[in-house]
């Protein structure tokens, strides 16, 4: 299936207008603020209650508060899952607008493609040290049935296209999150300040991810903080993806636009590509992104080695090189992954049904008062938490052979049906 951007399908006269009266050059496009790659170091956390029980965002804030020295106050954020139980099927768009004009233009896009069931400002409280916040609004959207049908896309691709459209061509508007029953709360400030600003402690979620950023760019761009999201994937990332140059060009072949200048962007899109579109089992997607070294592959039994060779050969341009620790959150759980020689810290713990990861053990201890187990995950091996009773959006039960993986990638569509299904 080829992936044509929505932009090309839409008649030009229905694009939001970018007239000269707006004083082009006065309102910064978020794209331009990110014209140079933003590096950052950081601290992160993720917590998931596998029973589905909801936890207050305060836990996430506290875990980040003890990791304050890992950031420099220029970025902090959280994402929570299960926070909008009243709107379980709507896409909850958390929006940032530089000014009212950007808001109007983005809302025009929403009106064209979605049914807007609720639009309201994000609840916030004033915090000393947080100034220059953009306008923060949230919208609960459902794709317009007619538009969806005539676009011949899945609802998710429809939403992805809209997000790409707004981020790349609506001046001064940015989609912070666009998933169902989840949302991202982020901005320029330390995570505890951002958490306080968005009143994160008043939300309850079964899964939280959090991040403390140490960027080296011009401060002021709220969109640059983590987590970075697409649909209900959210990613927090510590480290630097030195293969960004080729990762972004590889993704562009599939229609993703890497416009935000953060290397985390490619991680999010790669997970979306491998898990949702290519339907790779989670373990294999992790092996494609954090591949075993050739010396290790040469020691594997033949069948496994053949599989790994296919993954590396096919997904080489997508392999994430450089130090990283990543936590991927989604409706259904979370996954934490390290680069293949573990150059960034990551510690994990389990207490009852709660699974938690963080850059430092102190964050785990701050939240879990009596963990059953605390451990250091191995490089390239994911820590996985699954929420009971929720759809696992990741084809973890499907084991494809090497040739089937290759076929899946080159586009023979029926392989999923003919592949063996193992439990």
């Amino acid at each position: 299936m080829t992936f044509e951007p929505l932009l090309e399908r839409m008649p030009v006269d229905r694009l939001p207008s970018l007239s000269d009266e707006a004083g082009v050059g006065e309102r910064p496009r978020y794209r331009e603020e990110a014209s140079f790659k933003i590096h950052g170091g950081c601290g992160l956390m993720g917590i998931c209650d596998e029973s589905g029980a909801l936890m207050s965002g305060e836990d996430a804030i506290r875990a980040m508060a003890v990791q304050r020295d890992r950031g420099n106050g220029l970025g902090g954020g959280f994402a929570g899952y299960g926070i909008y139980p009243e709107f379980p099927d709507h896409y909850a768009f958390h929006m940032m607008f530089h000014d009212l004009k950007a808001k109007e233009e983005a809302e025009a896009v929403f009106d064209q493609y979605f049914v807007v069931d609720l639009a309201e400002p994000m609840p916030t409280r004033p915090v000393k040290g947080i100034s220059d916040a953009p306008l923060l609004w949230r919208y609960f959207l459902a794709p317009d049935p007619h538009k969806l049908e005539s676009s011949d896309m899945s609802a998710e691709d429809f939403v992805v296209h809209t997000v790409m459209l707004i981020n790349s061509s609506v001046d001064g508007a940015f989609v912070a999150s666009s998933g169902k029953n989840m949302g991202a709360f982020k901005g320029v400030g330390f995570p505890s300040e951002i958490g306080h600003y968005y009143m994160v402690e008043e939300y309850e979620a079964h899964t939280w991810v959090g991040h403390n950023r140490f960027p080296t760019n011009t401060p002021g761009w709220w969109g640059g903080a983590h987590p970075f999201t697409l649909l209900d994937w959210s990613i927090v990332h510590n480290g630097e993806i030195s293969s960004y140059g080729i990762n972004s060009r590889y993704l562009e072949q599939f229609g993703y636009k890497c416009s935000l200048g953060t290397d985390t962007e490619v991680a999010a899109y790669l997970f979306d590509l491998l898990l949702r579109r290519h339907k790779l089992p989670l373990e294999l997607a992790c092996k494609a992104l954090a591949s075993p070294l050739w010396s290790e592959i040469d020691r594997m039994p033949e069948e496994e080695a053949a599989l790994m060779k296919s993954l590396r050969a096919v997904y080489g341009p997508g392999m994430l090189n450089g130090p990283f620790a990543i936590v991927l959150g989604f409706n259904g759980g979370m996954v934490a992954l390290n680069d293949r020689i573990k150059l960034r810290p990551l510690v994990a713990a389990r207490q009852g049904t709660k699974v938690m990861v963080a850059s430092e053990e102190s964050a785990l201890r701050e939240v879990l008062d009596a963990p059953d187990k605390v451990w250091m995950p191995k490089a390239g091996e994911p820590v996985i938490a699954r929420v009971k009773g929720m759809d696992w959006p990741i084809h973890g039960d499907l084991h494809l052979s090497a040739s089937e993986v290759s076929c899946a990638v080159t586009g023979a569509e029926d392989t999923c049906d003919t592949a063996e299904v193992n439990n």
């Binding site: 958490g195 306080h196 430092e360 053990e361 187990k373 250091m376």
Partner: protein, 273 residues
């Protein structure tokens, strides 16, 4: 636990005020609950300067740089809780004992003294360590013991009771690095890959076996013999005493010995006009 969020401000992980200290003779107790590392360490340094020999830190959770640069052979710092990054970095003589886990960077560029951890320790332990002893009871992570170096009577020693991951003893230039593989919650082998890559000095002892592919090209794999036990034995004894383990059980399994087979591992790599 840190303060809960209230309408008077964001949650703070640590507070920058001096901790409460109780002193009795040459012993002091510091309540480090939510105290910022700089304030906590300032208190420790002041107590050491005032001649206090025994310092206990309670409710530690992640504070960094404990024992950093502190001198004094007879100073003892006890840590209750989770020790933060770079503990005992540049330390020069004291003993630091942690009842809990330690995070990354323990004994980084440590000069002299003793560190005992009754738990796990993280990555990058003993990087550039040049003297003193580090005893870890349980597991350790990646890049442990990189570039340890010895000089004359300053010989660094590190003993880890659990298992270790990749790059154990990378670039080792001197000293003794020991891995026991007991007290472990890791699945899989005793140690990871790339053991001793770039090793050009020192000795590594592993309780058990290692495959040749796991070791760097510069490493020769031998079995420890009686001569080795003359130096290894006393170290293990001291370790067992500190961590309440059974010496006989520890030495009941033969040790593998790794030493560099060349002091010039990169001797043939370069040329010039």
């Amino acid at each position: 636990m840190t303060q809960s969020t209230q309408n008077n401000g964001p949650i703070e992980g640590y507070i920058k005020t001096p901790p409460s200290v109780t002193v009795e003779g040459d012993t002091a107790r510091i309540d480090a609950q939510s105290v910022y590392y700089r304030n906590m360490n300032d208190s420790v340094r002041k107590l050491v300067a005032d001649g206090v020999k025994n310092i206990t830190l309670d409710h530690v959770n992640g504070q960094r740089y404990i024992g950093n640069g502190v001198s004094g052979k007879d100073v003892r710092i006890e840590v209750n809780g989770t020790a933060g990054n770079d503990m005992a970095m540049f330390m020069n003589g004291p003993t630091v004992e942690v009842f809990g886990n330690a995070q990354d960077g323990v004994g980084n560029t440590m000069n002299a003294g003793k560190v005992i951890v009754h738990g796990d320790a993280g990555d990058v332990l003993g990087y550039g360590m040049r003297g003193g002893k580090v005893f870890i009871k349980k597991d350790v992570g990646y890049r442990v013991g990189i570039h340890m170096k010895a000089y004359e009577n300053l010989i660094p020693v590190m003993v880890c009771g659990g298992k270790a991951r990749d790059f154990f003893g990378e670039y080792m230039a001197g000293g003794m690095l020991v891995l026991l593989g007991m007290n472990s919650q890791f699945e899989g082998p005793l140690v990871g890959g790339y053991v001793g890559t770039g090793m050009h000095g020192g000795v590594i002892y592993l309780r058990g076996e290692v495959e040749p592919w796991q070791c760097g090209r510069e490493v020769g794999i031998f079995t420890a013999d009686e001569e080795d036990m003359k130096t290894l034995g006393p170290v293990l004894k001291e370790y067992c005493d500190a961590l309440d383990m059974d010496y006989d059980e520890v030495v009941s399994v033969p040790f593998t010995k790794l030493v560099p087979i060349s002091h010039r591992p990169y001797g043939k790599m370069y040329t010039y006009l």
